[in-house]
Structure formats: structure tokens, C-alpha cells
Symmetry: C2
Subunit: 434 residues, 2 copies
């Protein structure tokens, strides 16, 4: 079934025909995956660059579709940050095209040799990166994710099945038309990046069931409830992060200037990102001197502080923190503050209450930094830097599809390289096993 047929089939879908359309989409993605896997790196690069070009060519149409989405969303009572994330304008659309060009410039990971060695019997063994296959990405009503996810999947040789939030349906369809043209421009099947043909929520359940085993991996990208639902219901492997409950620990050996700058940035640069610090741990040996300064910086910028008893004895204006505050991902200008006695107490708090996402220590004491790095088992552990660096772009990955807090396969920012698996290629000269 080609793309045009899929779309016309999607015009009016009851349950049975949606089911049939989704199964067809899975089969088409499986075929697309093979074409992408066997394509040259240059072809994948050309496809991503052509997507950017086609988005620019179709700008007017995409913006019109987005205007339709915005009108309907407002009519449905969507407002504030959600409406803002849905909105496109010529500048933002150009930003989307540019970010595709960034992904086109990332080294292609497929076929790269990760390791190679020769056995005493002469067998030559290579571990070689290969695509995972078909990746389904389920995300919120953010048009830019449609383009980013498509580009990262193509860069890593994987076919994609995209399912955006229903509020962004028309924008996503318009962007997808440009993406499909870009693929065709490079001689790749348009079916290698698929978009669910309907805003019907039933399509999500079908994806979670695996579409007749055509899906190899599901990546939920969105809020905690979306990720939790996908992790609970999926009958396919899931790569996701549940939450970023990040800590910054100001150690006895902290430099005052660095501590103040890092805490302020870690909490307030953007409060809504998963790398934002949610709890400040400050060592009791430096709290009397540093906490009042750090608190004043934060309060001046509009941050609410919730402290334990000792923190409040040093900064009486602080609200009291409840047990719940230590496990709350605020994603808001609120910071929980706790005074701890030494590095091990800080590590213990992080292990008990953290989410294994990103945690930082501020210290000039090399031994303390080394101990923190060794003991804290989070996907990203920082020394003397803001937790807001938890981001694929900041790591040099060009783009990311999310930050994994699972322990298997990939941890931390998931870029093109993390969207691959590997196989072993063994070259012999007739060896048989004794």
C-alpha cells in the first residue's frame, strides 16, 4: 500500500478499517526499514537535507495547517504553554528546517565498526552498528518533534512510525507530506517514515500492541503519564524516561561563585525541562555561609523555596518542605532545600529520592568529586556544571529523541548512535570448530 492509498484510506476510519490501515502501515514501515538499512549513508544524508528543503517549499501549507490546529485547540480550551508549544510561525518553521540540516550533518552511525579483533584460530570478528528496525515515536502536540524524530530515525537507518498529539494532527500531516517528499527525492520509499492516519486515540493502543510484530521499539516522548502508560501497556520494548528528579549538591569544598551561579542556572534557566534541578542539597559545613546567598539569588528571580528544619533555621523565610517535596518533579520555579552532613548523606538522599536522571556536585575537592562520581549511579553525573546541560545537543549528539533513565540499551541523551544496535560479522577461511 503506498502513501497516497494510506491517506485516502484514512479519510473515514471506523474501528475495523483503522485496524486494517494500521496493520498496513506496520507492514509498509517494515519494508521501509529494510530499504533504509541497506541505503548508503550519503542517501540517508540526502534524504534528511531534502526534507528540510521540502519543508521550506511547503511552508505556506504547513503554517495554514497549523492555524487550523491552533483554532481547534483554542476552541477546546487549550491555552498557555501547551498552545505555545503547538504554535508555528515562519521563524519557528525555519528553525525546524535548520535542525534537520544539523541532523543531516551528524556522522552516520550505520555500519560503523565498534570493535574488531582476531582469534587465535584466525577468525576475524567485527562488532558493527546496525539499525534497530522500526521505531514508533509517540509524542505530544509539538510539531517540531515530528521533524526531529523523523530525521533521527532516518539518520540511524530506522523506519519510523510517528504518532503526535491529536491537537497537532493537521500540522503533523502537513510536515509529514514534506518529509515523505524528501525521502522520495533521495530515492527512499516514502513509507519509511509513517504517520498514523488519524487523530483517533485507538491508534496508540494498536501501536502499543506492536502492529503484528512489525515494531521493534517504542519511544514515548512526553509527560510522565504518557510514558507511564506506554511502559505499562506496551508489548514491545520501550525506551523512555519517567522523570528528571535532579539534584545539585553543594559540597564543603564548593567555590562560592560557582555554587551560586550553578544552582541559579540549574533551577531557573528553564524550569520546565527534565534536567532542571528540583532539590538542592547543601553541606552543613558550608550552609550557614552559602545558603543565605544562594537563597537570595533564587528568591530575587521569583523562585519559591521549601526547606527542611535546618535550612529554615538559616533562611527563615523558606516554607517548610514535606516528605512529598523530596520526590516531586516541580517543573516550576520551586526548589526543595535540604542540609546534609557530608557526601555520603547527599548520595544516600539522591539514591533514595532521585530518578537516576542527572545529578551534580559543586566542589573544588578532587577526592570528593571522584567519590560522588563513583557512588551516584545516575545516567548523567556532573561535577561543577549545571544540571541543565542534560541534553543531546549539549553533549554534541546534534539532536536527541529523549533522555533514557532505563538502565538497559541506552542511558542519558538518546541520539542517532543510541538508536542503533549491533551485529557480529565473523570472517573465516574455512574454520570448523574442534
Amino acid at each position: 500500500m503506498d502513501d497516497a492509498a494510506l491517506k485516502s484510506a484514512a479519510a473515514d476510519l471506523d474501528g475495523a478499517s483503522l485496524d486494517a490501515a494500521m496493520r498496513a502501515l506496520g507492514r509498509a514501515a517494515r519494508d521501509g526499514a529494510e530499504a533504509l538499512r541497506l541505503a548508503t549513508p550519503q542517501t540517508r544524508t540526502r534524504a534528511i537535507a531534502a526534507m528540510a528543503t521540502r519543508i521550506r517549499v511547503r511552508a505556506e501549507e504547513i503554517l495554514a495547517a497549523n492555524a487550523t490546529d491552533l483554532r481547534r485547540a483554542e476552541a477546546n480550551g487549550v491555552s498557555g504553554p501547551m498552545l505555545d508549544r503547538l504554535a508555528l510561525n515562519p521563524e519557528r518553521l525555519e528553525g525546524i528546517a535548520k535542525s534537520l540540516e544539523v541532523v543531516a550533518a551528524i556522522p552516520d552511525p550505520v555500519g560503523a565498526e565498534i570493535a574488531r579483533w582476531t582469534r587465535p584460530n584466525g577468525l576475524d570478528i567485527a562488532r558493527v552498528r546496525t539499525p534497530i528496525g522500526v521505531i514508533a515515536v509517540i509524542y505530544e502536540s509539538r510539531p517540531n518533534v515530528t521533524a526531529d524524530a523523523a530525521a533521527l530515525c532516518v539518520r540511524s537507518g530506522n523506519a519510523a512510525i510517528l504518532r503526535g498529539g491529536s491537537e497537532s494532527f493537521h500540522s503533523a500531516q502537513a510536515l509529514h507530506a514534506a518529509i515523505a517528499e524528501g525521502l522520495a527525492d533521495a530515492g527512499l520509499p516514502a513509507s519509511s517514515v509513517q504517520m498514523t492516519p488519524t487523530a483517533d486515540r485507538a491508534a496508540v493502543g494498536m501501536i502499543l500492541a506492536g502492529l503484528d510484530r512489525t515494531i521493534d521499539l517504542i519511544i514515548p516522548r512526553g509527560g510522565k503519564s504518557l510514558v507511564a502508560r506506554v511502559q505499562a501497556e506496551a508489548r514491545v520494548a520501550v525506551l523512555g524516561h519517567l522523570e528528571g528528579l535532579c539534584h545539585t549538591y553543594v559540597h564543603t569544598g564548593a567555590d562560592e561563585g560557582k555554587a551560586r551561579a550553578i544552582v541559579l542556572n540549574a533551577k531557573l534557566r528553564r524550569v520546565s525541562v527534565c534536567g532542571a534541578t528540583e532539590t538542592l542539597l547543601i553541606d552543613s559545613a558550608v550552609a550557614p555561609r552559602l545558603l543565605p546567598l544562594i537563597a537570595a539569588d533564587l528568591v530575587e528571580k521569583g523562585c519559591e523555596l521549601r526547606g527542611d528544619l535546618r535550612a529554615r533555621s538559616l533562611v527563615p523565610a523558606m516554607k517548610p518542605a514535606s516528605d512529598e517535596d523530596w520526590t516531586t518533579e516541580y517543573l516550576a520555579p520551586i526548589l526543595a532545600v535540604k542540609v546534609v552532613d557530608g557526601l555520603d548523606a547527599a548520595v544516600e538522599h539522591i539514591e533514595t529520592h532521585g530518578s537516576g536522571h542527572t545529578d551534580a556536585i559543586v566542589t573544588e575537592d578532587q577526592a570528593a568529586a571522584d567519590a560522588f562520581v563513583a557512588k551516584v549511579d545516575s545516567s548523567i553525573v556532573l561535577v561543577n556544571a549545571s544540571t541543565q546541560f542534560a541534553d543531546g545537543g549539549e553533549f554534541g549528539f546534534g539532536a536527541e529523541i529523549g533522555i533514557a533513565t532505563d538502565k538497559l540499551h541506552a542511558r542519558g541523551p538518546v541520539g542517532a548512535e543510541q538508536l542503533t544496535t549491533f551485529k557480529y560479522v565473523v570472517r573465516g577461511t574455512g574454520q570448523t570448530r574442534p
Copy 2:
């Protein structure tokens, strides 16, 4: 709860007390995991070497426990290869101790830097190997797996929860006592390698449920039905292989001598291993010349052949193959044989009927070898070598806990390195994000 307490608690377990004992075991394993993770590589090496020593010291006791298991198994009607796999003797026990020493000599993967780079803003980013945490290994009644799994988990810094087949209960308990002593000799908590305290099958269900989220990964090691049950029921990540439906493809450009030696070895060296070839694909251009020779070699060694029409026209003594033969993992001296027209037809057959485990091509034609390697997406792809090389030891990993056919995290032989994950360590000098 220490080990002695766990064991006395296990003496008489009803449902509620088994549940309590298993939860305690999970918590103890979690604590043991932290100790193992923070131990030095030298400590882990010492622990594994001490396990070998303690097994030698306790040899008499272990063999007596094994004799009990054997008596009961025979009384229960167990016989043949199953009974043989359960049986220990002084020589086999020494083999187990020696294989622990091999694992003790494997480079310790924990803390190894996989990659390191510096960002333009001066942030120094390292990707560092870390243990996964607590790994539950569920296996059949094979005493050697108790020792191998314990050693590989310790080598990779992971705590282990071991659950062997009920027929091997006493042997496993006796081996576990030696393992626990070895851990203690190196100053590690004995709780970092746990053994389920009962042969009760209900314990498996509790492990599959995750023991209060104390288990990070379950590895089923055994037959297809065990792996299928674990994959279907586990509420924790699973790393397993379902089956090894391996192919050897004799291409037009095959060397006659290599083709004959490789097919004979790939099928018959050991028929019960997952890397044994189950289907021979032979190119129609060379089949008239080579198939009668290959068939004669196999038949002489007692192998039954089941061929498609064209194969049978060349070797009339062959039985006819049914559709089911192309998807059967015989694990027996039986080989399915199909004549194919060219490399793409061979690849297509492998993709349709294979299990993504191990597949080989025999050819002197470099371009054909390259095409086969690129097109076949199995965890191990071989050129001019026997599929029976699909084995962690043969790959130089020292030991393996199984061969993964999943696509995520690890593929192929799973050794100590594949039992680790990684974290990012980011070292800054006060960087904040603009």
C-alpha cells in the same frame, strides 16, 4: 537478613513465608549490588578466584549433594541427556572450578571509559561502564550454570539472584555455599550472589514480578518454553534468546572442500547447541556438483536429510521437507535442505524463516560475502566458518551467560561486558547553560 538466616527460613516455607523470604532476598541482593559496584576490580577478581578455591575445598560435600539430586531425579524418571547434564564427578567439578578461574582472568569491565570528548564550552564528557544492578538468572538443572552465572555477574559488578532447575536443588545449594564463602573471603557480602531458598516453583513467579523492583534484568537460560514463559510474564527487562534457527548458505563461489567441511561441522559437531545449522541453503548453480557430496558426508555420519523438490531430484534418498521443516530447530541430527536461485533468494529465506541468531555463507567471492554480510540482519553473520562458532568462549569473551537474539542492549554472546550499562560523567569548571 544474612545468608544463614535465609537458609533456616527456607527449611519449611509456606506461601506467605516464601513470599517474605523472597522479598528479603531481593533487598539483600540490592545491598549486595551496591557493594559489588563500589568494590575494586581486584576485589571482584579475588572473589571469583576464591569461589574456585572454596569449590575445591567443598568438593566432597558438593558431590554428595549431587548424588542426592541424581537419586531423586532417577526416581522421578529423569534419564538420558537431562540426567547427564545434572551429573557431577570430580573431573567435571574441577572443570567448573577452572572455568571460574577463566572468568577471574577476564578484564574487569566496570569503570572502563568507552568514550571521552570535550565540548567547545570546556565540559569534559566521559561514557563509563557501570553494572546493571541486580540480575536474576533462571536456568535448567545444570550445576555448572550456577557457578558460571555467579562468576559472570560478579565480574561485571552485578548482584545475582540464581534460580536453577528443581532437579539440581541440592547441588546448587552446595555450590552456592562455596560461592558465598568465596565472596566473604574477598570481603564482599555473601548476599551479592543469592540462591532461591526452595525448589518451589512459586519462587519463579515472584522473580518474574520483580521482587519489589529490586531486580533490574532477568536472564532465562534454557529451553524455548522457559524463555517464552519468562518473556511473556516478566514485569522486568528480559535478555534472552528464543531459538537458534541457523542457516548455512553454500554460494556459487564456494570452495568445495570448505563447503563440505563447514556444513558437516555446522550441523553435526554438536547437534544440541543453539549455533547448530538447521537448514542448508545451496545455490542451484553448484547444487548438482556439491549437494551429492555434502549429502553423502552427512548421511555417513548418521544425519537425516529433508529436502525440497529440487534437492530431492539431486539426492533421491532424501525425505521430503514440509513447510514446518524450514522453521524447526531440530537440535538433532536432522538437516533441512533447500536449493535456492542466488544470494537474494537465500537472504529472503533466512529473513522469512530464521531467528536472527547465526547465519553463514560459504564463498570465495568477496562481493557476494560482502552482500550477504550487509543484507542478513542476524546477531552473528559468518563468512567461510561453521555456525558452531556462535559461542562467547569462541569469541574470546571467556564465558557467556547466553546468546541474545533480542535487538536491544546486547546481541549475540552475552559476556561480562554485555552485562554492563554506562553512565555519563561530565566534568566542568563552573559552566552554566546560556
